[in-house]
């Protein structure tokens, strides 16, 4: 229990650290927000107008005060107002987030559905031809950039089969599930491609380790059939590295996938962050990064929870 308690306690500390980093890092970039916002028109502002704008966005105060106010706001669920969108940052993020979450989940499902069986299969066929094929495919999968995969998929479908991926205005899942899935499946496969390759590689090596463990030999000596040896005795012991990898990858995906969103014209978090950075929208960048870090930490916490359910040694503390 103390393991999880420790993890829970470090959570707010890490968040605080992230908030400080984000807030001050973005202000170290030269240039000011009002110029960035208004472009050439900024030159037309009178100093008074400039000041009142600065006061409106709260950027006229000393930086520590700004940070403090921002932090108080964060606790109240107020991440500030986006300069470019003219809307509260949190509502913009929450608008974009469902798509990113859905994309990340779908990619992970694709990755685990393909990668785990492939890795386990390769491990049980160690050094045979089928193992080599899986390993080569995984290597290719891992080393192909996902925009290339995305473009190849679109090209293959349109040129080969005359099918075009469903494009156009993004439809949320709840509005029209079928249309939504039609829009999301290709991006999910694109993102899941490299992810699946990593899962394959890591589950293969973890399984190989576990399959030579003593308890697997014990299971065999009891007459446990091959299938149960693999899925019931070996796999649960091999899952920890797979869970770790999946957690980290999933955490990254929750931060948005800029290239894939761009290719499939999806309004996800990745493009939001990119726009915010290009337009120097302080509040939005801060809000997004904080939100992404928060998600990352939540995912890691969930991963830790999963460890605990997977392995009693972690739950009970290493005894003996």
């Amino acid at each position: 229990m103390s393991y999880l308690a420790r993890r829970l306690l470090t959570f707010p500390l890490v968040m605080l650290g992230v908030s400080i980093l984000v807030f001050f890092a973005i202000r170290m970039i030269p240039g000011d927000a009002i110029t960035a916002m208004l472009g050439t028109e900024a030159g037309l502002l009178t100093p008074a107008q400039r000041e009142s704008l600065a006061a409106y966005f709260g950027i006229d105060q000393p930086i520590l005060i700004q940070y403090w106010k921002w932090l108080i706001g964060v606790f109240q669920g107020n991440l500030g107002i986006s300069v470019i969108h003219g809307k509260p940052v949190l509502s913009i993020i929450l608008e974009r987030f469902p798509l990113t979450l859905q994309l990340a989940l779908m990619s992970m499902v694709v990755a685990l559905a393909v990668g785990l069986p492939a890795g386990v299969f390769a491990a049980t066929r160690n050094e045979k031809a089928s193992d080599l094929i899986v390993r080569v495919l995984a290597m290719i999968g891992q080393s192909t950039p996902n925009f290339v995969v995305g473009l190849l998929i679109i090209y293959a479908l349109s040129a080969g089969f005359g099918i075009l991926p469903t494009m156009g205005e993004f439809t949320p899942f709840l509005t029209d599930p079928l249309r939504n899935l039609g829009q999301m499946i290709l991006p999910a496969i694109t993102l899941g491609f490299a992810f699946a390759a990593s899962v394959t590689r890591i589950s293969r090596s973890a399984m190989l380790d576990v399959l030579s463990d003593d308890y697997v030999r014990t299971a065999r000596s009891k007459g446990v059939p091959k299938r149960s040896v693999i899925w019931r005795h070996a796999l649960p012991n091999a899952l920890i590295p797979v869970v770790t990898l999946s957690g980290v990858e999933f955490g990254y995906l929750l931060g948005g996938a800029v290239l894939v969103e761009q290719i499939y014209a999806l309004p996800g978090l990745g493009r939001l962050v990119l726009e915010a950075i290009l337009q120097r929208d302080y509040a939005l960048v801060q809000g997004c990064v904080l939100f992404i870090a928060f998600n990352f930490l939540v995912v890691n916490l969930l991963v830790d929870l999963l460890y605990v359910t997977l392995d009693p040694r972690i739950r009970l503390g290493e005894g003996g």
């Binding site: 446990v224 392995d311 290493e318």
Partner: protein
């Protein structure tokens, strides 16, 4: 009566070309129902591979049966050649007709499944039991191996039980479906000697209860005396001698068997203790330890303070003269290794004072004390050449590697019996015994006065062990070294110790002259330890099953143990008074 198992001319190979890499080279034997055969041999003799071939587990380790037959008479009377059986048939036989237990109980159970689940599995697979019935059967199986409080223990994860308990669980699992043959592959090697005695007693009782046959694999020829009906001695993949127990033990024919029997240190209750040293009055000890206490704080949860400490070493004191060997004996958790480490500065003592004749020891780089560790395979850096390994202590002590140092290396290598060209080689090019010689040479590089030997021969085969012990004795005489010899093996201790300190639960319970302690033990723990030593002479003697556990060493904060009361039993022999 036909035999239960008939193995003839079995040949097993490994690797891509099994015929070229034969590990078992034509082994034959017959085993009748209810009979126990011991396979004895040193590492690499092919004894485990032979055993693993009988239930064809050898296939999963990269082995392949390339010749011969293994004929098993099944429950229905039909005879099956296991070498030709298909995997689905083998799965039916494993666990139901042939059970197996292994050397390492700590790693042989699945860490993520409860004890109960793992025992139940056998009943589910072979008996078709489900739900409550399977659970009830698992509980009965635990009762059968005398595990107290079985119902609660079913829900335990393996890491919540001790090694001895886990081996019982393994036995319970293997015997779940009453197999007619149990293969026991070094089942007690990883266990403490008193636990070993308990497991051996249990196996003996279960054998009588169930009438099963058993193949018992061991490197310890002393251990088989109490359990086997016949013995097969293996060397380099061949059975060099086989026959009835007494026949082989009393009238060994093959030179290797004779060698093995003479190399095994027989425990002789103190009669074989060394008598080549006597303490002189008023000599300065090479090492003087006084009131050594080592405690490790037990961490509390987030919000509470430390809940106490593990009293690993409690008020240990002794002195060690130049040229003398003090053996520290005890079981795992007794604090013997912690004592050794504290003396070397590898563990920070909570209290206590120790001094060499050169002064107080302050840290691990004190050249006056050096150490040789248990596992020669793990204690030499595989990436360093031998000359670098031998130079290491010199550099650590602030010296420089000069021509003189190199001369010293060469001389020492020669002295420990290694070829001179060893300096340019790497550790993997040496055998286990040679590596331990290297470790000894490394320890001697700085001319220490005290050498701490922590289970220094435990990982070696018996014949190698005997030679290394011989070397140690010679070096001791030559350089006047004082040895602190930490060991759990009473027979080895008898060969090398002048004095013995018995450690139990972090405290010395008995200390004194080796011959006196071993021949006339006074403390109940010392007696228990000595009676558990397996021996060829005490053939067919049965041990009482003793389930006593070592008391918990975790004490509340601020706890101080009461002052020890000692009773004297001769000029150099005293034991702690028991309540």
């Amino acid at each position: 009566m036909t035999s239960l198992l008939s193995v003839s001319n079995l040949r097993v190979g490994f690797g891509h070309d099994p015929a070229k890499n034969e590990i078992v080279k034509g082994v034959s034997f017959d085993l009748a129902a209810g009979e126990t055969m011991a396979i004895v041999g040193e590492s690499g003799s092919g004894k485990s591979v032979t055993a693993l071939s009988i239930n064809r587990l050898v296939d999963f380790g990269g082995g392949k049966i390339i010749g011969g037959s293994i004929k098993l008479t099944r429950v229905d009377g039909s005879v099956l050649d296991i070498t030709e059986a298909k995997e689905p048939v083998l799965e039916k036989i494993r666990g139901s007709e042939i059970g197996m237990i292994f050397q390492e109980p700590m790693t042989s159970l699945n860490p993520v499944l409860s004890i109960g689940t793992q025992i139940e599995e056998s009943f589910r697979l072979h008996r078709g039991l489900t739900g409550r019935q399977a659970t009830a059967a698992a509980k009965d199986a635990l009762d059968r191996v005398r595990i107290p409080d079985a119902t609660r223990r079913l829900n335990y994860a393996p890491n919540q039980l001790s090694g001895g308990m886990l081996q019982r669980v393994m036995i319970a699992t293997a015997l779940a479906c009453n197999p007619r043959l149990l293969i026991a592959d070094e089942p007690t090697t990883a266990l403490d000697v008193t636990v070993q005695a308990q497991i051996m007693a249990l196996l003996g009782e279960l054998k009588r209860e169930t009438g099963m046959a058993m193949i018992f694999i061991t490197h310890d020829i002393g251990l088989v005396a109490g359990i086997a009906d016949q013995i097969m001695v293996m060397q380099a993949g061949q059975a060099v001698e086989q026959g009835a127990l007494s026949e082989v033990l009393d009238r060994p024919q093959h030179p290797y068997t004779q060698h093995l029997l003479s190399a095994v240190p027989h425990f002789e209750s103190g009669r074989a203790a060394r008598a080549d040293f006597s303490r002189k009055e008023k000599e300065t000890p090479a090492l003087d330890v006084d009131g050594l206490v080592v405690r490790f704080k037990v961490k509390g949860s987030m919000f509470s303070r430390a809940q106490g400490s593990v009293h690993a070493v409690e008020n240990v004191g002794f002195d060690l003269m130049p040229g003398e060997t003090l053996a520290i004996v005890g079981e795992s958790g007794s604090g013997k290794s912690t004592t050794a480490r504290a003396i070397l500065g590898l563990v920070k003592p909570t209290r206590g004072r120790f001094a060499t004749h050169k002064g107080s020891i302050t840290d691990a780089t004190d050249p006056a004390t050096q150490m040789v560790f248990q596992n020669p395979y793990a204690s030499l850096n595989p990436r360093l050449r031998i000359d670098s390994i031998l130079a290491e202590p010199v550099i650590a002590a602030g010296g420089r590697v000069t021509n003189e140092t190199r001369e010293k290396m060469k001389a020492l290598l020669k002295r420990v019996g290694l070829p001179e060209d060893s300096l340019e080689r790497y550790p993997h090019q040496f055998s286990g015994g040679q590596r331990q010689r290297l470790c000894i040479a490394r320890a001697l590089m700085l001319n220490p006065s005290v050498v701490v030997l922590d289970e220094a021969v435990s990982a070696l085969d018996v014949s190698v062990q005997a030679k290394v012990l011989e070397l140690l004795v010679d070096l001791q005489k030559e350089y006047g070294l004082a040895y602190l010899f930490v060991s759990h093996d009473m027979a080895v201790v008898e060969r090398i110790a002048h004095r013995i300190a018995v450690l139990y639960a972090g405290q010395i319970v008995e200390i004194g002259n080796a011959a006196s302690v071993l021949s006339n033990p006074q403390h109940s723990y010392t007696k228990r330890l000595i009676s558990a030593v397996p021996s060829i002479d005490r053939r067919n003697q049965h041990f009482e099953i003793d389930t006593r556990q070592v008391p918990s060493l975790v004490r509340p904060p601020g706890f101080e143990p009461p002052e020890a009361q000692w009773r004297e039993f001769g000029p150099d022999h005293r034991a702690r008074a028991e309540a």
